[in-house]
């Protein structure tokens, strides 16, 4: 076990010849500091795993988007990047938002943000969902979508407060299906 742990730490960080060359993400993509942290981190586990069978087919379902890309409207308070353990709050993003207007508060040094800054749909794919709804693949889109900041290392209040509140909100909106995107 200790050998596996140490081996994980010493994987070399890969260098990519081309910036946007798609490669499989592994923990070795991370900086040495982040790798040490994540190798030792004890993830919270859903136990039992909650599971809902969709009420209706996607073509008649109401769909909401939940992203951890830390997007927010220019007029909303940005996420607090300095909050110890991670900012566990969320922002409501109105359904009619112009996606290109969304700001990104994320300052995680754990991943390459260039693509997301270039195209918000890479992590907040509302335009893609609109196209799917227009084609009839999705029944309709929710009147609001949610944004979290993903880099929460101390998820106590996410678990006790904001994740339940976010779920209540979408359930109250009559959302059948949520699509979640990590960033």
């Amino acid at each position: 076990m200790a050998a596996v742990f140490i081996a994980k730490l010493y994987q070399p960080t890969p260098r990519r010849a081309l910036f946007h060359t798609p490669t499989v993400a592994t923990l070795s993509d991370l900086s040495f500091k982040n790798r040490i942290f994540m190798a030792a981190y004890r993830y919270r586990r859903l136990d039992p795993v909650p599971f809902t069978v969709p009420r209706r087919p996607l073509s008649s379902a109401r769909v909401a988007l939940v992203s951890t890309g830390a997007v927010h409207l220019p007029e909303q308070v940005p996420f607090d990047e300095l909050f110890k353990g991670g900012d566990f709050s969320f922002r409501e993003i109105p359904g009619d938002v112009d996606v290109s207007r969304l700001r990104v508060a994320h300052k995680s040094d754990a991943f390459d943000q260039a693509g997301f800054l270039e195209d918000r749909n890479l992590g907040f794919p509302l335009d893609r969902l609109r196209e799917m709804a227009a084609r009839g693949e999705i029944g309709s889109l929710s009147g609001r979508h949610l944004s979290f900041m993903g880099s929460i290392t101390a998820p106590g209040r996410l678990i006790s407060e904001t994740a339940p509140a976010a779920a209540e909100l979408l359930a109250g909106d009559g959302v059948d299906v949520a699509i979640l995107v990590p960033l």
């Binding site: 490669t23 993400a25 859903l46 795993v49 069978v53 693509g115 893609r128 699509i179 979640l180 990590p182």
Partner: protein
């Protein structure tokens, strides 16, 4: 950490009758958290829908994630993207 956040929020949604489909680029983390339904895609951290300004690829990944909703439970369901 973003993958843990996704899993925890997905769990709360499922508890309240909202079915969830997630995307993941870190299979190991998603497996540890037990995210109810997740599609693993072979792209780097920060690129969950593949590539910027590639709507066709982004849509195919979303379709792959939604397709997990057709699989019978119980969760967790960790699917591989067929491409």
């Amino acid at each position: 950490m973003c993958h843990q956040t996704v899993g925890l929020v997905a769990g709360e949604l499922e508890k309240r009758g909202v079915a969830t489909a997630s995307v993941t680029v870190l299979r190991e983390v998603t497996g540890k958290v037990g995210t109810p339904r997740a599609l693993f895609v072979p792209y780097p951290l920060g690129y969950p829908l593949g590539r910027p300004n590639d709507p066709e690829l982004q849509t195919r990944i979303l379709r792959g994630a939604f397709a997990l909703l057709d699989r019978p439970g119980p969760g967790p369901i960790l699917g591989d993207w067929a491409g």
